[in-house]
Subunit: 506 residues, 4 copies
């Protein structure tokens, strides 16, 4: 009846069930990982709103190394959650974050392994992913006492002007960054994971829920709904999703953004990057080469901050390319859990198709494949989504490429002349170049690096991109404000009623 009730969150369950064929050899091989995380072969309920549910589709999770099913998840859609978190003072919420952090630390190894299994990342990256969640929870603990409102000087005697930041209600969160910041600012969260990472999301939600319980907080504060596009779409439209964080393609993000804007909700969009590295002739080429290798090949080139473009000064082009060719050939491709493997499979079969098409287009436009370029279709990796680390030179009729040399302004223009604006790097030893690069006439990306690759952002800085990357900032700096409504409060304690701007009325 009253507006506060609008904050209830209803989960309508879908009922259709599909049966799937089960070939769970991965499960058997890594049984201890699954057991330590409380995951089952076939009976993993994928909806959590305080208790575990799931009467929706049964969706298998695949191992991209061999495309075998790891385990199955019973999916669903949101129903009946309520929030009490905002009444807990922020420093107390910080303590909940600390408990969550400690629980993740205890489960770091199995969780990291599960990430590797389900996403195809090499183990250090799988563990790194969980570690990042741990870091952000520590960061949220810190915010719990330092997220300040303001007292602003009022022009009226006997008036206090305060700026407050209060929770919005419910955040549809991408874990773990959104989750931690949403919770510390007093919101509840719903996690709608990618359908391909359901097992990780269930395992983490179990751990998080226990931490909430330890603090006598409703576990529904961190709800989970696994599921497909339909689940996602209903959340996008739902007025009760005060903040909706979305990570995905520009095209879907554009639609999501418009729908959320149309209902005056807030969206945090983390869309595609088309990230470039500029290599100048005054840089440390060795440093640049190692950085490029790491940024282009790491996570099989699937990070949002992966380097996709190189803009290289002509005078250093040959040297750099030779070095990279040699390095690319040494990169061991294989099962990400195997020792020495640096490059795992692509995440899905679709990604392999996209890879093929992109290469065909390069050729069609007269470009050149410098190294790699092949889908691995034979040998022990033939059942997985493996491709060779690949570098191409774009078509030679492009103006810029014909230049013997380009100016800094031209290089920056090429960097900026794409629709996306996530990450960008320059390698240089010139202070003037550095400060131009980070200034008003420099990179127009959200992440602007110098002498480090496009990836590897720290949690303390605001993370996100400009232009078609969506403009959202998930975490870092003052991005916690995005999870709040801002109140400009003026309190007249004078007993008198002076009016602004000198108007004398009545």
């Amino acid at each position: 009846m009253i507006s506060r009730l609008l904050r209830n969150r209803t989960i309508v369950q879908t009922i259709s069930r599909t049966s799937t064929i089960r070939c769970l050899s991965t499960f058997e091989k890594h049984r201890t990982v699954f057991e330590s995380l409380g995951l089952d072969k076939t009976n993993n309920k994928g909806v959590f709103d305080g208790e575990w549910k799931g009467s929706g589709d049964i969706v298998p999770s695949y191992n991209p190394v061999n495309n075998e099913i790891i385990a199955e998840v019973i999916t669903g859609t949101p129903d009946d959650l309520n929030t009490a978190f905002e009444k807990l003072p922020a420093p107390k919420r910080g303590h909940v974050m600390l408990t969550m952090r400690n629980a993740l630390v205890e489960n770091l190894q199995p969780l990291g392994k599960l990430v590797s299994l389900e996403m195809g990342k090499i183990l250090p990256e799988g563990i790194g992913e969980v570690q990042e969640y741990i870091d952000i929870l520590e960061y949220a603990l810190g915010l719990s006492r330092t997220m300040q409102g303001a007292i602003i000087p009022s022009e009226r005697p006997g008036h206090a002007m305060l700026e407050t930041w209060n929770p919005l209600g419910t955040v549809v969160a991408v874990y773990g960054w959104n989750c931690a910041i949403a919770l510390i600012t007093g919101n509840g969260t719903i996690w709608k994971p990618a359908p391909t990472t359901s097992l990780v999301s269930i395992a983490i939600t179990r751990i998080i829920a226990k931490a909430l319980k330890d603090h006598d907080m409703p576990t529904s504060l961190c709800a989970l709904v696994t599921g497909g596009t339909d689940v996602g779409q209903s959340m996008v439209q739902d007025k009760r999703a005060h903040v909706l964080s979305f990570t995905g393609s520009t095209e879907v993000g554009r639609q999501v953004g418009k729908v959320v804007q149309g209902r005056f909700g807030k969206s945090i969009l983390e869309l595609g990057g088309n990230n470039a590295i500029i290599v100048t002739d005054d840089c440390d080429l060795d440093l640049a080469a190692r950085a490029i290798l790491f940024a282009a090949v790491g996570t099989a080139g699937q990070r949002c901050t992966t380097t996709r473009r190189l803009i290289v000064q002509e005078t250093v082009y040959d040297t750099l390319v030779e070095r990279l060719k040699k390095a690319y050939k040494q990169v061991k491709v294989g099962d990400p859990l195997d020792e020495g493997v640096l490059c795992g499979p692509l995440h899905t079969k679709q990604a392999v198709e996209s890879y093929k098409k992109a290469l065909e287009q390069v050729k069609a436009e007269g470009g050149e494949i410098i190294t790699g370029g092949r889908v691995i279709e034979d040998g022990p990796l033939k059942n997985g989504n493996f491709v060779e680390p690949t570098m191409t030179r774009v078509r030679p009729d492009m103006n810029v490429v014909q230049h013997e040399a380009f100016t800094l302004d031209e290089a920056i223009a090429i960097n900026n002349n794409v629709a996306q604006g996530l990450s960008s790097s320059i390698f240089t030893s010139n202070p003037s170049t550095i400060f131009k690069w980070i200034g008003p006439s420099g990179s127009d990306c959200g992440i602007i690096n110098v002498n480090i690759p496009t990836n590897g952002a720290e949690i303390g800085g605001a993370f996100g991109g400009e232009k078609e990357t969506g403009g959202g900032r998930e975490s870092g700096s003052d991005s916690w404000k995005q999870y709040c409504r801002r109140g400009t409060c003026t309190i007249n304690y004078s007993g008198a009623l002076p009016l602004a701007q000198g108007i004398n009325f009545g």
Copy 2:
């Protein structure tokens, strides 16, 4: 050819001209005002992009006191502007703001009078409007040295993490707040005024342009395009309008927001308010009554922060309503430039029609007109857009109204239970009520007042509203950040390449 060129701004002129009948007695009566501001009877060019143009429609500006034409404006659409402002250091931009401010101070009286003429506001309000622009320019001068970026601790040795705020390019600005903040952050602006206030916009642009010239800055930094809906729509769609500020109805704002979001631009929406005052039984009733009168009747109830709803505790209802009835009857309605007049005309004839419909609806639903309720259709005011100051009681079957008393939680729920979220006030002498009201379970508006009415915001605080009011903040606090792109810059000056999250790659 390169992305920077995308920032050029093209104004395509429309050519159709309509002739209008001229009855410019207002012009003759206030000839000195117009002459001091350089305005003509019929030949006011309404496009400025460094020079004055206008080959579009000729649009008259009406005096709402008698619906006579004041003067005519030749309208148009945007063409060929370029920005150099971002290269001027912010403190230097501050000096441009100071020159603008001084020029407005010199023209305060005629400008104030022109606002009164064109908008129908009483003179103190007309002058107050210009004074507000002067204030915001001073505020922008202050920002010129205090808009700080940040140095954030990096977790990597030999790395510096900086957060920079650089201009976006072009801001479609509502004057004067947007203009001042957009300029001080290094952007250029285009002003598309409401078609009903063309003369004010031309007069101010003249003054502003001279200030830019005095500093050898391109005057096109503050472009003006008067015109109708088509001009507005082309700006909304134009990718080069990096920030688009819109003030208007929720329905138009919803469309504007979606289009701008669809092209990943930034919008600052200032849409309708449905502002309430809660009157508790522990408040100073005299203070409350004066505040309500000012907030409901001032500017003929046409401010975005005008009070539209009263939520009154039953025990003080009769006393308060009696006082207000008496006060309403004393309010002198008339020509806003006449001595003693407190309430001028509505701004347009359409507003008079809306007034009528609203009253009919109240009656249809069983509500009651407490005072006022009549369009003034005879006497000397009959040609203007005048109506009586009016107060109604909504239909008595509403649950809440039947209550003998309501709790604070209920009153807050009523306040929040509308689609809009601009401004809100409570009158109380209870600290517990005050802090609840400004806290997470309090008002969900952007402006949250105590013992002052819903209007009268100061420029230092963030101004704007939540929910269907649009979420934008034009000015105050850190809202200057909305006019900027944020860069998270990491500079590796170590010569080494440590990688985040402990990944050891290659």
Copy 3:
């Protein structure tokens, strides 16, 4: 040879040893506490600079319950420490803080008990003391990513202006607040504890040192020197103590401040408070009475924020005093580790003497003892430093007391009219009173409370007092800046040399 070497810290040991008579029944009774913390009966080395030393005086630590020796400490003075902490990035230092925190959590019970034993606090307060250290370490973890420098707009094109905060070197710290903030800002610390709390300081240093070791940091970063006045004085004079935090009497603090100022060091002084509570006639008297009891009697009135003065509106005086008299009489005095005891002994025998003198003075000046007023010299507590909880009325010839009523301004004047300025409270339900109290004409203390007693500060807010309380702020808000040197850095990357203020020189 170069300035950086000045940061070495030399500890010159004193050699005189005194033997003491040992009657360590307390030790035997609480043997498990001591064993779990690694403390010995007689052989506790009291100097730590990376390894444990101590060739100075043997100083016993007494149990104020019975003035028996708890255990003995071999004291000393500083020698040869070096710092490497500043080279560790702040977020990494945060992880050291987290490890320290976890170690204290594990030892919370025995540490809390040891605090109770050595200081005479009741157990919840002993544990609360350690908990506060734990809290501040979490807070420091948070700071590790949020202590921001600034990028300030420069008025010169091609120039960047940065504000940096770098560590000063060595902080003579009062644990735990100073220690945590000093470490997180990159400094090393030396702890010179009060001679009466040597055992706690040794036990904590053990735990802290282990945490440093776990992170491969030099354990000498947290040095300890137990000892007497001579040790303290040499630190005050030592140029290498870049920041010196001192908690103690105004008179000693005045000397400390002057010496440190004379060598242009920084001091953080936390001197005496003469804290008052104002009780107005519009407050919740029950709340006020409970708060006063807690604030005046808790920790046997020995906190720096203990309430020492009551300023009570005449109309509520009798009611309040009756309530307090009744409550005071119910307070159980005794061994702080016994169940139900709310008031333990004074910390030292000297404190008992001061108590006696203060009461004599009250009587001499015509004042009145309302309740309490007796040293407990018989019964089972006779060997301890026990006194009755006591309340007096100051001499009735004081002007203010004669008034039947006072105004708010007068009450504030009485509050402010003492030399000290630590903490102050008002009990009221009037918003106007609240905002006056916290405004420019209100309390001139560093801590300004409303409807809570003078004690109970949170770590997020700046803690410390004005006037003769010394002006220092140990922790909270931006007080971390006190542990840093501020650098205003201007980087010209333009290649040109414009000069400020338009001077054209050569």
Copy 4:
């Protein structure tokens, strides 16, 4: 009787009068300057506390060009001032600043000329000095709406924690920086100028006082007391001088600091600098040479930020020194108001004596005079305090100088290895050098420049130095906080009384 009264300021006048011989040819020559500023030949009252007074010594002001008397000032000491400024809201105080600014702009030329006359600066520098005051008033206007307090998350439900910044009372200010910041934070000021610049202080106080009057503020808010050491000392000791800003020698500053600390006042010390420029071999030598010339010879080397030491890499030493020698010889020395003169006289005869002694010491220690080195004792300048611009090489047995080359660490060590810590510069094109220089192992000065000289600070950055330079920051960044007392306010509006740290008491 009550503490607020302590803020009154009493001026006890001294009565002794000395007569002086008058040879006021400078006055006649620049009569228009004096008349436009309202200054007289002999009858300039030097005390202002709302009205102009002065029964103390008559002190002449000398022209350092010829040591003739410019005009005479009747000096005195403080009496009976009261403050009402704190009750004016900060934004209103901002408007007073704006009026002061405008009045100074109107008087820029004559004031600049008077500065030149009285201080011996060349005219652009004289005008620059006044311009700086104008700038700081604009800056203070900006602060008037942006000096924020904070709302800090409280760990207790139903509690609000606010951090407030309220004025301290009276600031003994060095104009204009201190004055503007002291006023905008709500304090009153007393100006005790150097005895050698009395005329400037009287002229400015006249202008400032008029601005206060225009706003109906008590003009005594900006009191003036010209006078000698006795006047200064009484202020240092006076408890009512809540903040005392002192600019002068380290030795006097040390005493001042100790006395103010002893009474728990606040001092802002701006003591001597021993500023160095490091010239690396990778820098732009031309830029460096021009910067050094400007920084060493400008204002005849008398700015606090004047470069006093050069630390030059051996490989570029000869080239740099040759360039500087040539440049030094071209610097025209003479009457600072004459066209083309770049170097005026020293400020006083004592300064000439110090110059001589310093050169003798260089020679005695085996150093070498590279260029200059002579007091000008013949020709038309013989009566003034003129010396040649001078460069020396310090004694060649210094270890560092013998090195063929030094490392960056060594150069930084030399920079830091002096007692003072005001300003410092490095000339380099290496980013790694830049970030080391501004980091924890870099310059330990308050001002840390790159590729600009040691002087030329901007008002937006904090200005002041570390170590024996005193640690004060007059203006810029958050140094306004030094003029305030900080209040940590906790407001319990819950009606309940939870206690921090979980203590359950009674």
